[in-house]
Structures are given as C-alpha cells and as structure tokens.
C-alpha cells in the first residue's frame, strides 16, 4: 500500500519535472514580453521620466502624471474622440454583422463565393487598404464622389470623407467596420447555427411571424454570443492606431487623433515617456471599467 503511494508520488514528481521543462521557455518568454511591460508601464507612470536621458533619475512623483492629464485639454479631447469612435464602430459592426449572419444563415445560391467576398477585407493588408480607400474617397477626384455627382448630388453637398473635420472620424470607423466585419459575422453565424430548429417550428405552429421569431427566439438564444462579441469589439475598437496612421495620420487638424495616437506621439515624438504611460494606464483603467460594467449588466439582457 505504502509502496504504491511512494511510487505514485515519484511518478507525479517526474511528471511535474517534465511539465516544468515543457512550460519553462514559454513562461520565461511570457514574463519578459507580456508581463514585464505591464508593470514597467505602471512604474513609469509614477516616476518623472519626461525627457530623454532622464532615465537614471527615476524620481518618484506619485500621481503627478495622472493629475496632469486632467489639465490637458488635448488629452481629454483624445479620450472623448476614442470613445466616440468606439460607439460608432461597435454599434455599427454589431448591427451589420448580425444582419449579415442572418442572411448567410439561410440557404442561398452562390453562398460560398459570397462568403469569400465578404470575409476578404479581414485578411488584407491594413496599409494597402488604407491607400485604396484614401484614393477611392478622395473628395475631388475619387470615384465615390464622382458617382454621387452623377446621381445629381450638388457640388457643395458632396461629403469630404477623410478630409472633413466632422466626417473623418466616422469615415475611419466605417472603414474599420468594413475591414473587421468577417470576424463578428462568423461568430454570429456559428451561434445562429446552434439554435435548435424545433424552436422555430413550434413558433411557426403558433403562427409567429418573422420579427417575433427573431425577437423572441433568435435574440435570446444568441445573447451570450452577442455579449462576448460586444465585450471583445469594444476592447478591439481601441486598437485602431494602424488604420488611423494609414488613413489620416490624425488629421485633418486633430479630428482623428485618437488616444492611442496621442500616447504614441507624447512618448516617441516629445519624449514624455512617463506622461504617455500615465495616459495609457488610464485608458486601460477605462477599458477595464467598461468591461466590468458590461459584466454586471449582462444579467439584464443575456440569457444563459
């Protein structure tokens, strides 16, 4: 009996050694490239490293960098811009992808080539598509406005797209929707295919129409997926630096200077490293709060 136990612990010790060997490289890499930057960011945000060469002083200044944010009108405007962007992007993509998934879930002619076309932007190079959109939406020479003119839209009403102070941010959001639509659509489609057919058949016997079936069966059944997608989409909406750099570079004026671009500029253009990290940490805190609020609110609308 006791011999067996000893053998068991010896075996599991050996197993533990093997496991350690297998995961050690990954853990080391994870600590250096994933974990360390997080703490480094927090540390930097609390010291005074706001000019090049000041690295060695590392003078601890508490929350001063954070306090400075609230007196910086440009920074606050960048946060607001980012949240505005999130609302347009997340709202738009959730509605559109659900609509598309509902369509793709039916039996259609040419379904496979249609799906390929719809998913294609997702894999295309971000700068390549930015270049194309910048030309296509060029307000003076581009084909989109040429088409609008052809349909009789008067010259002075033609949208300025990426070059308009008011229209630039929504245009960038729309292009991000176009680019990422595949992801949300695929996830919604998978959820729709999980809804048991019997539920719809029962509802049909009761004489329920299309809208009622959608509202009473489809929506509640896919609400966990929708919750997941809303959370992930909102987090992802803050990863828009590449598209903004490619499409507008922050302009016209500051119209598309979202917070991540602002952080980048503060650090690598003006060398305000600590201040930039305080801005980034605050953004992370905001995202965390948004996610937690959604987590709390899911009781109200998510059916498990």
């Amino acid at each position: 009996m006791s011999g067996m136990k000893a053998r068991g612990t010896r075996l599991s010790l050996k197993e533990e050694r093997t496991a350690l060997l297998f995961i050690a490289p990954f853990i080391l890499g994870f600590l250096v490239f994933n974990f360390l930057p997080l703490f480094y960011s927090l540390f930097l945000s609390l010291v005074n490293f706001n000019e090049l060469g000041a690295m060695r002083t590392n003078e601890f200044i508490g929350l001063k960098n954070y306090v400075r944010i609230f007196g910086d009108r440009l920074a606050l405007a960048a946060y607001v811009r980012s949240f505005y962007f999130t609302v347009i992007y997340a709202g738009g993509i959730i509605v559109l992808s659900l609509f598309l998934a509902l369509l793709l879930n039916r039996s259609l002619f040419l379904r496979v080539p249609c799906r390929t076309m719809i998913y294609m932007p997702y894999v295309a190079n971000v700068i390549a598509v930015s270049m194309v959109w910048a030309i296509v939406l060029n307000p003076f020479e581009g084909p989109v406005n040429a088409l609008l003119k052809l349909f009789g839209v008067p010259e002075e009403c033609l949208p300025m797209w990426l070059l308009g102070v008011k229209s630039a941010l929504p245009t960038v959001a729309a292009i991000k929707i176009w680019r990422n639509l595949a992801f949300q659509t695929i996830v919604f489609l998978a959820a729709l295919q999980e809804v048991p057919e019997e539920l719809y058949e029962c509802a049909e016997i009761d004489g329920a129409g299309w809208w009622k079936k959608f509202y009473r069966i489809t929506l509640p059944m896919i609400s966990p997926t929708m919750f997941f997608l809303v959370v992930v989409t909102i987090i992802g909406s803050f990863n828009s630096l590449a598209l903004v750099k490619g499409l507008t570079g922050g302009g016209p004026g500051s119209a598309t200077r979202i917070i991540t671009l602002f952080v980048y500029e503060q650090a690598l253009r003006y060398s305000y490293y600590s201040y930039a990290n305080a801005l980034a940490c605050l953004l992370f805190l905001f995202i965390l709060i948004i996610t937690l609020l959604q987590w709390k609110a899911q009781k109200l609308w998510v059916h498990y």
Partner: protein, 282 residues
C-alpha cells in the same frame, strides 16, 4: 391544394433568389476596393481617375508592376516580411504547442493559476503597452532588429489557449496507451498529439501568417531603419514617396495583399474554424 403547394414553393424560390442577389451585391460591395486597386494598378499613371471609370483598361499597362519589382527598397521590405513570418511560425509552433501539451495533459502544481494569469493578459489591448515595450526592447538591444517582432510573437497566449482547448478534445486513451507502452511525454506530444492536431496547427499557421504580415504598429515602432522595415510600414513610405502616382501606389498595394488573400482563399475552412472555436481577436 396541389396548386397552393406549388405556389408556396415558387414563392420560396423567389425569396431565395432575391436574398441571394442581395447577399451577392453586398459581397461585390465588400470587394469593390480590391477591384479598384487591381484595375488602377494596370493603368497608365494619370489615367486612374479618367471618366468614365473603366474597370478593365483599354490598354493594360504593366509598367507599374515592373517598377515595383525593380524597386530595391520594396524588395527588401517584402523579403523582410517573408523572413519574419518564416522564422516566427516554427518558433511559435514549437514553444506554444509544447506548453499547450503540458497544460492539456500533465499534472503539476500551480497549473490553473498560471493558466489564469496567462488568460487575463488577453484582455489587454496591445497598443496600451507599446511604449514600455519599446523601452524594454531598447534595453534588451533588440530594437531595430527583426527579433523585436519575432520573439514577442513566439510566446503568444491566444494560441496557447486555442491549442490547449484542441489538445483536450483528443481522446486521453491514446496517450495512456502510449504511456503503458513505455513512451515518454515528448514522444507522445510529437508522435500522437501533433499529428492529430493538424487542423488546429493549420489554423495557427494561417493566422500567424496573416497577423504578422499585416501588422503595422509593432514594426512601425520597433524598426527604425527604412531598409530593415517590413512591407506594411514600407508601403506607407512608398505611398509618400510616390506622391500622386496612384497607379504605381496601387501596384505596390496589390503585391502586398496577394500572399494573405491567396492563403485565405485556399484555407477558408480553417480560417472560419479558427474564428468560431476561440475567436478572441477583434
């Protein structure tokens, strides 16, 4: 009765046809920018905006592609991208799968808590930590080298999660039988688990390729020398350099999207599976 049935059958067919047409039109709208891009890249510079806009130019012009192919800078960027992808895929493939095997199959202390810590970092948007990463890589002396892109990509938590989930669906009896036959864990990992996990591995290779190829922010911040850049950031430089020569720009852009679109078209099944099974990146 009979006529009523056939009537509802034709109306159903009609609905199907209308909806198919609608989806097809949406699909066409989605790829319009690509059509425009390819079409413009075959036009003479200065002909891009000539109205009426022609999708297929009267006289296709190959000069843009020739100029891009002869461009030394563009060639280096392209080659650098290929090299980063080709080094990162096997590295990630090894370190991620072997760790995923341990998390899926082995018992060890602290397993759950370590895994939980790994998972929690997936909620952090990578753009938030770009500055500390820049400073960190600087002190590691990997700034302006391709290792600043390859090494962080090697230890990817998202794929660790995906592969662990997949490994757990492989029947445990297979590994137990091998254990009884006296095989070690590395042999089981290499000879049994990896071959059976081929769909998940293909998905990983596909997404690694697509994400690394299309990555802009990391190479933009971590690589300073233009000659060492990857194609995504290089393309932006190319765009600025070629100013108003839109046809040439579009030829450069076309080359940059070909590899990923080509791969995606032939592996669409794995692409869809990859997103539905774990779908974290948004």
């Amino acid at each position: 009765m009979g006529s009523l049935l056939s009537c509802s059958k034709t109306s159903r067919l009609l609905i199907k046809a209308v909806l198919s047409l609608a989806v097809f039109v949406i699909g066409l709208m989605m790829i319009t920018p690509f059509v425009f891009m390819i079409s413009a890249s075959f036009k003479y510079p200065g002909q891009v905006f000539v109205e009426p806009l022609k999708i297929i130019p009267d006289k296709p012009f190959l000069g843009n592609f020739q100029r891009v192919l002869r461009d030394d800078m563009y060639f280096s960027w392209y080659w650098n991208s290929i090299r980063v992808v080709l080094i990162a895929i096997p590295l990630r493939g090894f370190f991620v799968t072997i760790a995923a095997y341990a998390f899926a199959r082995l018992r060890f202390r602290g397993k759950n808590i370590i895994f939980l810590i790994f998972m929690s970092t997936m909620m952090i948007t990578p753009e938030v930590t770009i500055i500390p990463r820049y400073l960190l890589y600087k002190s590691l002396h990997i700034i302006d080298t391709q290792w600043a892109l390859i090494l962080p990509a090697t230890f990817d938590v998202f794929f660790l999660f995906m592969l662990r989930q997949f490994f757990m669906t492989i029947p445990i009896e297979l590994s137990e039988a091998a254990r009884i036959d006296g095989y070690g864990h590395f042999t089981i990992y290499y000879r049994i688990i990896l071959p059976l996990a081929k769909p998940a591995l293909i998905t990983m290779v596909l997404f690694t390729f697509i994400w690394l190829w299309n990555d802009y922010v990391n190479p933009f911040v971590f690589i300073n020398t233009m000659k060492k850049q990857l194609v995504t950031v290089g393309l932006q430089f190319f765009q600025a350099r070629e100013g108003a020569n839109y046809a040439l720009q579009m030829a450069g852009a076309t080359f940059a999207v070909i590899p990923t679109i080509f791969m995606f078209t032939f592996t669409q099944r794995y692409f869809v599976q990859g997103i539905t099974s774990s779908g974290i990146k948004g």
